[in-house]
């Protein structure tokens, strides 16, 4: 199983990632998740966001999550790209892509990786509201609960 984990400020190209994931004659299914920055949160208009991470540990924790996914489902390759730094509404934040022979494994592994990334990978979001004030985003109970299905 081939894995690729990148934390970067730059945007990513979903089509390019898809092609790279599908680049095995055995691949029949690629499932991709893209997290997008919304322009509202908790009832407020959001003008921008700042994303911070823990260099080193972030990448390691995502690698470990992919490893666990690979033990549960027969997947061929997985790619995770997470952006950090300043982002504007509509921006792509995170990419999780999984290639497998068949779609069931690709779907399950992709959702599994995304659910665990949300709960374990050390990233933090700070929102800049349209009124100029800033706040750190609070963790959501629903993200912790999402792990129950695995």
């Amino acid at each position: 199983m081939h894995s690729r984990v990148i934390v970067q400020t730059d945007d990513f190209d979903v089509a390019e990632e898809c092609r790279a994931l599908a680049n095995s004659g055995r691949c029949g299914a690629v499932t991709q998740f893209v997290g997008v920055m919304r322009d509202r949160n908790e009832g407020d208009d959001i003008a921008a966001m700042e994303l911070e991470h823990y260099p080193g540990m972030t990448e390691r924790s995502i690698e470990a999550i992919i490893e666990r996914a690979g033990e549960r489902w027969p997947i061929l390759a997985a790619t995770v790209i997470h952006r950090v730094g300043s982002l504007l509404p509509g921006a792509q934040i995170v990419f999780v892509g999984v290639a497998a022979m068949h779609r069931q494994a690709a779907f399950s592994a992709c959702e599994f990786i995304m659910d665990y990334l949300k709960s374990e990978a050390p990233f933090w979001k700070k929102e800049c509201k349209a009124d100029g004030t800033e706040r750190w985003v609070d963790a959501r109970d629903s993200d912790a609960q999402a792990l129950n299905k695995w």
């Binding site: 080193g56 995170v94 990978a121 979001k125």
Partner: protein, 83 residues
């Protein structure tokens, strides 16, 4: 000597992202928290003794009983919110 890192809200609350700390004796994560709070006071208690404060030792999640050794990297951070 160990390196201690603080991230996100905690980095801002303490006004500090990274510090060195001399380990004169073996300490657990829980011991280290107590030492830092006793040295730093109220503001440090708010960060380090909060129910949901996470700690990683050498980039692996660690609870209060984990032993810290010389040269280790210890990080304290709030619940994660990426993705």
């Amino acid at each position: 000597m160990i390196t201690i890192l603080f991230f996100a809200k905690y980095r801002e609350q303490l006004g500090l992202g990274k510090m060195n700390f001399t380990l004169d004796t073996a300490l657990s994560v829980g011991d280290l928290k107590k030492r830092l709070v006793s040295d730093g006071g109220e503001k440090w208690a708010e960060v380090l003794l909060a129910d949901n404060t996470l700690c990683a030792v050498n980039q692996t999640i660690a609870n209060d009983s984990v032993e810290i050794n010389d040269g280790d990297e210890v990080a304290f951070y709030p619940p994660v919110t990426g993705g």
